[in-house]
Symmetry: C2
Subunit: 340 residues, 2 copies
């Protein structure tokens, strides 16, 4: 099959690799209907995360089950499925608490490489959720968003304890930030402030339910948020970038008693215990347990209550994967989808 | 009046100072019935927090209202009152959210010096809670504990989201840690593990409701907690020390999805965003909004449902304040009470 492999910074290639097979009785093999490039794929692509050998890429996927192992009970060949970017058994105590991305048996799907024609999915019964029927073609990009960025936005909003009538700031205008805006709206927030400097993304944020845009950053950004909230700061902040600046922006924009949900994978972030202590904020986040939200998100998409495909602004065949990375890297695309 | 002043590391003195007077119409002056030495007083006493000039000391107090300003409506002269270590108006939006120690008008009581005969209390109607009647003498030490350490233990337990049937670790066996144990028991925790190496404090912790004692520290301590919890870690941890080691111990002892409440004022603590992210814990804490808990704590003490005076193992007249500090510093006393 054809599969995407990163060889070094900026060196992304589509290659022939052996077809994946069932290696454990709980595995499934999925024929990919669509995959995509994630903001987090750019960390190694840009060389910020270094790699010691060529690695398969991609962890967002939807497709049709091709084969299942002998212990797979619920998932059947022929079903259309959405999976999350961590494989999880969905039965251990941590999964039952809703933290499937910390499952005792978790496996990172990126190591298996979803930007390909076929994908082996471990713990298929726990990891995959079948859609009620084979979806209309136009729903496929939306379902694909549920595999990571939509679920991550949802987890960010849940971690920030967003509630009806309250104020929210979203730091980050990438796919996850935009979906945190969408989630904040669904959760009933009254004011949803997005921090963004890019006209196209501001527009998307407003289309997803943002009520205000703040273009300032750092201390100026914080001052602006405080101005907008009677000097108090917001009730909830979602951090969807992962840098030191964005993290501090989220914490400092939040009032004492407020909640900061952080879902941008931190790179070089260190927090002062002293500052956190006196901030009086609640802090929670981590790799999103997307599996927790999949059934709800699939329902919302199938009932056409939400349309996460709005953010997809580039769709390419798999053999143009290098161009998809390049467009994401250069911010020419918010979200690039790959079709096999 | 006589009042306690710190002149430099280890140099604590009882001195004659002018009697405090009403300076704002919202002030009260309280004749101190009892005050005490707090673990946090030891940071400047030990020179870990440096001071640039002699400072008044003490922020835990109970006593009888001596005088009130013209705008004080609820608090009356002659009432026996308990106050918290931050003055707060109890009416601003932050106070109404239960975070009186981040009140928009807050004032740190330590700057006014409660280890004295008289104390000016700003924002008296917001800060002070009158007891239902003048308490029996034996209840005074317990009410004094409510002024800070008991309320701080309570906030630690609330921040750690301690729930019936769950497991808890308390890092720290000082007054706050011991009261976090007491709170954990009241909140219905099933397993309450205290980390302690001191026989006398282990005994107190068991008397307050601890079910297990762990003597190991650092990585060994974490490994022991994981051993005791099927490798998962506890549901809730209360950090009641404020050092880097104790903070990491609390975070690393907690399972993904769990809650860490941190109430030890951090000194030199820095946290890795990466570690926090992958820990999947909830983190919350800060200077305890003791005022939130005072009515409940006073009720529990008056109904003799709890007896926080158990931890008081040294009672001295105010003019022996230097010995009280020395005993706390050398860990000869868990909690030293000063009587005027």
């Amino acid at each position: 099959m054809r599969a995407t492999v990163l060889h070094g910074p900026g060196d992304i290639r589509l290659e022939q690799r052996p077809d994946p097979t069932i290696t454990a009785p709980t595995d499934a093999v999925v024929r990919i209907a669509a995959s995509c490039v994630c903001g987090s794929d750019l960390w190694p692509y840009r060389g910020i995360e270094s790699i010691s050998q060529p690695i398969p890429m991609g962890h967002e996927y939807v497709g049709v089950v091709d084969a299942v192992g002998s212990d797979v009970r619920k998932i059947k060949p022929g079903q259309f499925v959405v999976g999350s970017f961590f494989a999880s058994d969905n039965t251990c105590e941590i999964c039952r608490a809703g933290y499937q991305s910390s499952c005792l048996q978790r496996e990172y799907m990126g190591n298996l490489g979803a930007q390909a024609e076929l994908l082996r999915v471990p713990l298929a019964d726990g990891t995959l959720v079948a859609t009620p029927e084979v979806p209309d073609e136009d729903l496929i990009p939306s379902l694909l968003m549920a595999s990571d960025v939509l679920g991550t936005g949802w987890f960010g909003a849940a971690s920030a304890d967003i509630r009806p009538g309250k104020s929210v700031v979203v730091v980050g205008d990438g796919a996850v930030g935009l979906f945190a805006v969408l989630a904040a709206r669904r959760f009933g927030a009254e004011r949803i402030i997005v921090m963004s400097r890019h006209a196209d993304r501001q527009k998307l944020a407003l289309a997803h339910g943002a009520t205000e845009v703040v273009t300032e950053r750092g201390d100026d950004g914080v001052a602006r948020i405080r101005d907008l909230t009677d000097g108090l700061g917001v009730h909830s902040a979602v951090e969807a970038v992962g840098t030191q600046e964005s993290m501090l922006q989220a914490i400092r924009s939040t009032r004492p008693s407020g909640h900061v949900g952080f879902v941008g994978a931190p790179h070089g972030v260190t927090l002062s215990g002293h500052e956190l202590f006196y901030s009086h904020v609640h802090l929670h986040g981590g790799p999103a347990p997307v599996r927790r939200f999949l059934p709800e998100l699939i329902d919302l998409i199938f009932s056409r209550s939400i349309d996460p495909s709005k953010i997809v602004d580039l769709t390419l065949p798999l053999d143009q994967v290098a161009e998809a990375y390049s467009a994401m890297h250069e911010r020419r695309a918010v979200k690039a989808v790959l079709l096999p």
